[in-house]
């Protein structure tokens, strides 16, 4: 996403989450999301079939 797209996303997400971000926090949040986006690309590029499941701790 572009910087402007991230800024728009952050503004809406912050509203949804009830976070009051200062301008300084917004810029740092964007930088962190840009890093996360790079990380997510690596993860999402890995092929997993429909039967892949997480390894949950929950025990019924």
């Amino acid at each position: 996403m572009t910087q402007d797209e991230w800024d728009a996303y952050i503004a809406e997400a912050a509203k949804l989450l009830g976070l009051a971000l200062t301008d300084e926090m917004r810029a740092a949040t964007r930088a962190n999301l840009e890093t996360a986006e790079r990380m997510a690309k690596l993860v999402l590029d890995y092929p997993l079939d429909d039967h892949a499941e997480i390894a949950p701790v929950f025990l019924a």
């Binding site: 996303y9 952050i10 997400a13 912050a14 989450l17 009830g18 976070l19 009051a20 971000l21 300084e24 926090m25 740092a28 949040t29 964007r30 930088a31 962190n32 999301l33 890093t35 996360a36 790079r38 990380m39 997510a40 690596l42 993860v43 999402l44 590029d45 890995y46 997993l48 892949a52 499941e53 997480i54 390894a55 701790v57």
Partner: protein
């Protein structure tokens, strides 16, 4: 005679058992050491001198009566300040938690150390909410590297590394979500054990990322890691992720030597990006262990990325209410990563968790052919205090999130690791190497670490 604070935990326990030294003498010597070194090094955030003296007096009285004492009687320890300690507020490195009431009882692992007659000296500094690899803390100040106070201790168990390396405790209990035991072990030149995920109970410790949080010891000797690890094993029913396994003592396995161990060096991802010192340390360890084989952990880079995302998201969820109500009371570097983490698409996190299981299957296949894998612990020696960037793989990168490039892909699937310290030729600071084993094979990692200690390849002297 050696000043008592310089003894390792096993040496101290042996001296006390032989009645060569009293536990009280060890505590007094260590308190003097803390008074001398802590003002500069900034490890302790709560010093519990009265508790330590009382415990030591109790041990000495029992020994005088001929009563049996625990295996750590006379050994001093401290805990990262995310462990509950009765009567102390569990800060987890934060300003915000300082408003919480004091802990009503000790954390599960502290109770186990007490039962082994280890002597708690206090709680130590850490990176805020454990989201840190530097040991710097905006509220309490940085915990400093005893080998050179102008350099980082490493984090997030920074005060643990500082205290043990400076002789201000023999053992410290830390936590490791992405590398927070192994990084300070590397930077401060110590032995560290990050056990298998689900091994030691996390009950009574402040969490960070439930999917990835581990607890374990840091010490100046492998014997001490083993003593502490054995004392802390055992299921308690209070940690939802703790596996129900019998206690598997490792102390008796330390002298097993290298015979029969199949050991390989990690190539690929683990053989690039770091500074030459990181590889020189791995070379030294591999030469001493007679390693000629190389293996590649498949998808390690993706594993690190997945751990990064899960950490952001789970950490953000944990702290969301505090982000709403007290954003200005966080360390800004932590706060803004958490804010970003709260906004990650859910599908990214579920995918990262699914990938975690697949990656585990891929890596466990390697352990059909090898018992141990050797990899760097950190890509560099301890950076200077306050250093914001370093060069990795020819690119300038922020220090804070990138110190854990080699530790994250390992803890991501909960493999046990012994971190061992290496002083490369001419180096002014130590650097660590990871000895990685299959799940529940802490014994093998510690056996190899012990052999390296015995041969003098890996040593952890008190820093003066």
């Amino acid at each position: 005679m050696t000043e008592p604070f310089r003894l390792s935990a096993s040496e101290a326990a042996a001296a006390v058992a032989r009645r060569d030294l009293t536990a009280s003498a060890i505590v007094e010597s260590t308190l003097v050491r803390i008074e001398a070194r802590n003002p500069t090094l900034n490890a302790y955030t709560s010093l519990l001198a009265a508790r330590a003296r009382s415990k030591a007096a109790d041990i000495d009285a029992r020994i005088a009566c001929g009563e049996k004492v625990g295996p750590l009687a006379g050994a001093t320890y401290c805990v990262k300040n995310l462990f509950d300690v009765e009567g102390v507020t569990t800060l987890a490195g934060s300003k915000i938690n300082a408003n919480n009431p004091v802990a009503a009882r000790d954390a599960s692992l502290v109770r186990k150390m007490e039962a082994a007659d280890a002597i708690l000296l206090g709680a130590v500094n850490m990176g805020e909410y454990a989201y840190d690899f530097t040991g710097e803390n905006v509220h309490a100040g940085a915990s400093r590297n005893p080998h050179d106070p102008g350099h980082m201790s490493g984090g997030s168990s920074g005060g643990s590394g500082t205290a043990v390396a400076a002789g201000m405790a023999t053992i410290s209990l830390g936590s490791d979500t992405n590398g927070s035991i192994r990084v300070p072990s590397s930077f401060c030149g110590l032995f560290g054990l990050k056990p298998t995920y689900g091994c030691l109970s996390r009950a009574g410790s402040f969490p960070f990322v439930g999917s990835l949080d581990h607890l374990g010891p840091i010490a100046r000797s492998v014997d001490d890691l083993a003593l502490a690890y054995d004392a802390m094993q055992g299921h308690d029913g209070d940690d939802p992720a703790q596996a129900q396994r019998l206690v598997e003592p490792v102390v008796g396995a330390l002298l097993g030597g290298l015979q029969g161990l199949r050991i390989a060096r990690a190539g690929g991802y683990f053989a690039r990006s770091g500074e030459p010192a990181a590889y020189a340390a791995v070379d030294t360890v591999c030469a001493a262990l007679g390693v000629t084989r190389e293996v590649e952990l498949p998808e390690a880079q993706r594993a690190r990325a997945a751990a990064f995302l899960i950490t952001m998201a789970e950490g953000a969820e944990l702290h969301l209410d505090r982000l709403r109500s007290r954003a200005q009371d966080f360390d800004p570097a932590v706060r803004d990563r958490l804010a970003a983490g709260s906004m990650l698409p859910a599908s990214w996190i579920v995918r990262a968790q699914k990938f975690r299981r697949r990656y585990r299957d891929l890596v466990l296949r390697l352990f059909e052919e090898v018992d141990l894998i050797i990899a760097p612990a950190t890509p560099c020696h301890a950076p200077k205090s306050g250093q914001a960037t370093f060069v990795l793989d020819g690119a300038e990168m922020p220090v804070r999130p990138n110190i854990g490039v080699y530790t994250q892909p390992i803890s991501f699937i909960g493999l046990p690791v012994a971190a061992v310290p290496v002083w490369t030729a001419g180096a002014r600071l130590p650097i660590g190497v990871q000895i990685i084993a299959a799940p529940w094979r802490e014994d093998l990692a510690l056996r190899a670490a012990h052999a390296l200690q015995q041969s003098g390849v890996c040593i952890a002297p008190v820093a003066d």
